[in-house]
Amino acid sequence: MFDRTAFWSPAPDWRHARLEGRGLSIAAVTPPALWRLSGTAVPSLLASLGVSRTIGPREACDDLPYALRLSPDSVLLACSAAAAARLQRGFTAPGLAQTELTDGIVCIDLAGPGAADLMALAGEQALGTAAARPQESARVLFAGLTVAVMLRSDGWRLHVERPWAPALWRWLAEHVAITS
């Protein structure tokens, strides 16, 4: 049999995963709750949770709760456990579909002056340019993977589906070590 166990490096322990280098500090973080919300009733639900706007990849945000724009009628909500207690799985009201993704998304923070340069290595879009674009999706190609990105005051937060998170971490580890 063809054993590929040694070829693929093990996934990191997300509780302790950290990388340093290239002017960056990289760590996995755990928002208390992550939900996918879709439908015409999403804006009013977000307002009731204290989220006044949805954000794309060029609008900065540091604190919970926040809602990343995935498509014209769908967001990824990050919120506290208390706020999440008010959410319900399924199609619970006209224009509102809700799916929990708390275990399904790994969040990785890139913090430090090297963040912009790393983003330029990873993605095609010049996300460093300041002007926000209405309705732009936060979902971009980052290192060849589909990632929802959020601009922060100290860098970026990446939201990647859990099965792809080890691949993304491997890419980050490789590129943090490259100095050119």
Binding site: M1, R4, A11, D73, A120, P163, S180
Partner: protein, 951 residues
């Protein structure tokens, strides 16, 4: 240090930094700032390589990327490049250079004898000779005799990661026009990237005399570039634009150690100021070492202080060569100009400067054996020379324009191809656009950069540019062969041969002779080849046509293309949330589609049989987390699923599951899976592991196409859940031990139903669904609890099951795997699921395709089981044979084949023509010449009644 060709002063080289290198074992030296080519030329090395087919000695023709001959094997430390281009490679300390594919050295190649038999191996000889008994007998030898460098499999290149950049304007080419364009764009407030293939900006300003804005052109170029960078523009020297793609995507290759670096650039607009290159002349033995392009010789003189010859004959038909002649005369060389024209002001000025001019004359052939020793003119006169500097006119570099689907046009007055109709988002300026003078180039560049805004045009001492007119073919068919494409060893006589054999279209000429197909993409040969084709076919050059230029413009190493996408990063995989426990259990992990999964727990073949026995006799656990879990929600969820799936789902009760097929519009099976109805307006679609993204996109596409977007939504929840399939006669006992808070009595929990439970304080979903044919439960928990669920189930007695054993178990049951049993043509009725086709009357995806004549004909391949006649499993892919009418024909093939621990004999599935009506028939199966026998049977080998589901 003294070299035979180096001037004592001048040039851009740093004489305080000598560098030592070797070529074919000979120790040589040069200076920092040299290229390998300039250092070799300065050292008096004239024979650098052997030609592709005839192994003729070859020297430098050019100075930059147009150079067709000087391709060398390069080693420096761990770096190895089997096809390094001497004109582009910077000289470095310790470089070890070797000639490529010579038997011996470039100076002494034992294979040079091939040239004596040249008449037997003209262009396309391999289509007519070396045929008996078949071509492959000779192919290996012929390939070894031809070709370029050999890869050293031990070498490892470590290229840099790709970089991405988005700009308003990308200017390709930092000569006069390009610098003017970039400066104008920056002044207009645009973000600018300026790319220059040479190591310094300036283009021809670096070696041709010019004054721009009151200073020497080369100094002006440096000042402008510094100003651009100070203003925030990015200037990349030593970087070539190698490809231009849709939507103004430009791929750059920045040269560097190993493979260099790829830049992926998006530009709102692109300006091409890529200049023009000189064409060689066509005359006998024009490939001799010592025949060089005149402008290249001038660049070696001015930039590297290398005098390529002491007795130089300049052969030309245009004024640009006179600049080179005067420069060499000033450097002390004895110069003679052979001009095909009979009178021009340039000739008078040259004579006044003491340079001999032979007007109205042409070179018939180069004299000399291993190197140029002189030239014979058409008149019969001979001239002594150690360098023949030639100019057959100029060709703009419009490769990138053509890559952008621009169609070039023939310009008779300039005698060259120019850009034709404009391409949206792209402008061509300077010499690349056909500029006739420096002033015109600067103006065109400035206009191109501002795109219609206010323009500041740099002033200059205007230098007219003589394009030289169409190629001169009068000396191409003399007694000695005249080379057209030096890199692929194509002569003028080869072009004539192709025309005689009726390959008259330019695309046929290209492929029949390989003219223009080498790594230089015909830079110095295409237009000359077109001229010969036109002459031989009685057409004008405009009528002859032009072939297509494709990326890359320059060869790019695969290491650069890969960048850091090597190893694990080349094709990333999805990982299971419990991977750590699988590794701890000694699993062999393997790639299955886009997911890394345990193939088996143990390394021996016995592991598979052991796991299968455990599944049939006790209880096993399989990590099925990669299976799709796509939520479809909303009032129209049922309607969407009824449309997308062949199997009706709207009548599924909440809490129940149904196996379903999804079809493509062609009626072929797209995927299969199990659909759970959670609530009236909430479904979960489980699909094949490697198809999750495709199925999600499939559902989303049809949602957007046919449905009110406010009434149905598709959410991929696959990453949220870890799913463990617990299967076997003792599976219920393991479920009881897990204490999930679910009534496991069969009456309350029948097969193909689901309940919510609790695991570790969090919600879990348990479904009774089986892919093994045994009683089975799929337990889904939040992904963070995957390892805990696995450990507890193992502690309760479940044994690990890998994907390989699962494959054997489902094969025993005749369960298909989409993409294994099915291909792009397999329809539901081919696998025994034709009922919906007969009973559904509502519209669904693929419905009409199921009733086409092709779908209804007899002879379609159908799913069957195959009982092998021997104890060994049939090979997967073995073809079932029919010998009807004395003709051997494949009637289908084996799709899956496994040993069966439960049955003690192998089992196989196959798709065989009319297989469903041929049970009991014994067939021959052939696999790579080996014959096997098997009997067609029903696909289900074990428990066809399904009683084991409730054992």
């Amino acid at each position: 240090m003294s070299t035979s060709r180096r001037l004592p002063a001048g040039g851009e080289i740093d004489r305080s930094r000598p560098l030592n290198f070797s070529f074919d074992g000979r120790a040589l030296s040069g200076y920092a700032g040299d290229t390998v080519a300039s250092a070799l030329l300065a050292s008096g090395v004239q024979v650098l390589a052997r030609s592709f087919k005839y192994h003729r000695p070859r020297g430098l023709l050019g100075v930059d990327h147009e150079e067709p001959n000087a391709i060398l094997d390069l080693r420096l430390g761990a770096r190895h490049d089997p096809n390094a281009r001497a004109t582009l490679e910077p000289l470095a300390e310790g470089l070890q250079l070797s000639s490529v594919h010579a038997l011996g050295t470039a100076g002494r190649d034992l294979l040079a004898v091939l040239d004596r038999g040249a008449r037997f191996i003209p262009a396309a000889f391999y289509y007519k000779t070396f045929m008996w008994p078949h071509w492959h007998v000779y192919e290996g030898m012929i390939r070894r005799l031809a070709g370029l460098g050999r890869v050293d499999a031990r070498s490892r290149a470590q290229a840099a990661p790709h970089r991405h950049l988005a700009v308003d304007l990308c200017v390709v080419g930092a000569g006069a026009a390009g610098l003017a364009a970039a400066r104008g764009a920056v002044a207009a407030g645009r973000s600018v990237l300026l790319v220059e293939q040479r190591t310094r900006v300036g283009g021809a300003l670096l070696w041709r005399d010019a004054t721009v804005e009151g200073e020497p052109g080369s100094r002006w170029a440096g000042r402008v570039a510094a100003g651009l960078e100070a203003a925030g523009a990015r200037v990349l020297a030593g970087t070539a634009a190698v490809g231009l793609y849709d939507h103004n995507a430009v791929v750059l290759h920045e040269r560097g150690p190993d493979g260099g670096r790829i830049w992926q650039v998006r530009a709102r607009e692109i300006v091409l100021t890529t200049g023009a290159i000189e064409r060689p002349l066509l005359f006998g033995d024009n490939d001799r070492p010592g025949v060089m392009l005149a402008d290249a010789a001038l660049e070696y003189l001015r930039r590297y202080a290398v005098v390529a010859g002491e007795r130089i004959v300049f052969a030309t038909g245009n004024d640009t060569t006179y600049v080179a002649a005067q420069a060499f005369a000033a450097a002390g060389a004895r110069c003679t100009i052979v001009d095909s024209r009979t009178g021009s002001p340039a000739q008078d000025a040259a004579r006044a400067a003491g340079i001999e001019v032979v007007a109205g004359a042409r070179v018939e052939r180069a004299l000399g054996r291993g190197r140029v020793e002189g030239a014979r003119l058409a008149s019969g006169a001979t001239l002594s020379a150690d360098l023949l500097a030639v100019s057959g006119g100029w060709t703009p570099l419009i490769h990138l324009y053509c890559q952008a689907r621009g169609r070039p046009r023939w310009d008779e007055e300039r005698g060259t191809l120019l850009p034709g109709e404009p391409v949206a988002g792209l402008r061509v300026a300077g010499a690349a656009g056909g500029a006739r003078s420096l002033a015109e180039a600067l103006a065109a560049g400035a206009h191109a950069g501002t795109g219609g805004g206010r323009v500041e045009i740099p002033d200059c001492d205007d230098r007219p540019f003589d394009w030289g007119g169409p190629p001169d073919t009068r000396m191409a068919f003399g007694e000695r062969r005249a080379w057209v494409d030096l890199q692929n060893d194509v002569t003028a006589k080869d072009v004539a041969l192709a025309v005689r054999e009726n390959f008259r279209a330019v695309e046929h000429l290209k492929r029949y002779t390989t003219l223009g197909m080498a790594s230089d993409q015909g830079r110095t040969s295409n237009v000359n080849g077109l001229a010969l084709l036109a002459e031989r076919t009685g057409r004008t050059l405009a009528q002859a046509g032009v072939t297509t230029f494709r990326p890359p413009f320059l060869p790019v190493s695969l290491a650069a293309v890969a960048g850091t996408q090597r190893g694990e990063l080349q094709a990333p995989l999805r990982r299971l949330p419990a991977e750590e426990v699988h590794r701890a259990e000694g699993a062999e992990l393997r790639e299955y589609g886009d997911t890394l999964r345990p193939a088996a727990y143990g390394t021996s073949h016995d592991a598979l049989l052991r796991e299968c026995r455990a599944a049939r006799e006790r209880c096993v656990i399989l990590d099925a987390s990669s299976l799709g879990k796509i939520e479809v929600q909303g009032p129209d969820a049922a309607a969407l699923l009824d449309f997308v799936f062949y199997t009706r789902l709207s009548n599924l009760a909440p809490g129940r599951l149904r196996y379903a097929l999804a079809l493509a519009e062609s009626g072929a099976i797209f995927d299969d899976g199990v659909v759970l109805r959670v609530a009236a307006e909430h479904f979960v679609v489980s699909c094949s592991s490697s198809h999750v993204r495709a199925m999600t996109a499939h559902l989303e596409e049809w949602r957007e196409d046919r449905f009110d977007l406010s009434r149905v939504f598709v959410h991929d929840a696959t990453p949220q859940w870890a799913t463990m399939a617990i299967s076997g006669p003792q599976s219920r006992r393991v479920l009881e031990a897990l204490a999930l808070g679910v009534d496991l009595d069969d009456a309350a929990f029948p097969h193909m139903s689901a309940h919510d439970g609790v695991f570790a304080g969090r919600r879990a979903r348990i479904a009774r669904v089986s892919f093994t044919g045994e009683r089975s439960y799929e337990v889904s928990v939040p992904a963070g609890l995957a390892a805990e669920l696995w450990r507890r189930a193992r502690a309760a007695g479940a044994e690990p099951l890998g994907v390989e054993a699962l494959g054997a178990l489902r094969c025993e049951k005749g369960f298909i795997l989409v993409g294994v049993e099915t291909d792009g043509e397999t329809m539901p009725h081919d696998i025994g699921m034709g009922r919906a086709r007969e009973t559904r009357t509502d519209a669904y995806l693929g419905d009409r395709s199921l009733f086409t004549p092709a779908a209804c004909r007899s002879g379609r391949r159908q799913l069957v089981g195959v009982a092998a006649a021997s104890a060994a499993p049939l090979p997967v892919g073995a073809h079932a044979l029919s010998r009807a009418g004395g003709r051997r024909r494949s009637v289908g093939w084996v799709t899956s084949s496994h040993p069966s621990a439960a049955l003690g004999r192998p089992v196989a599935l196959a798709m065989i023509e009319d297989g469903a009506s041929r049970h009991g028939e014994e067939l021959e199966f052939e696999h790579f010449g080996a014959m096997h026998r098997g009997t067609l049977v029903a696909p289900c080998f074990l428990d066809p009644s399904g009683a084991r589901l409730n054992v």
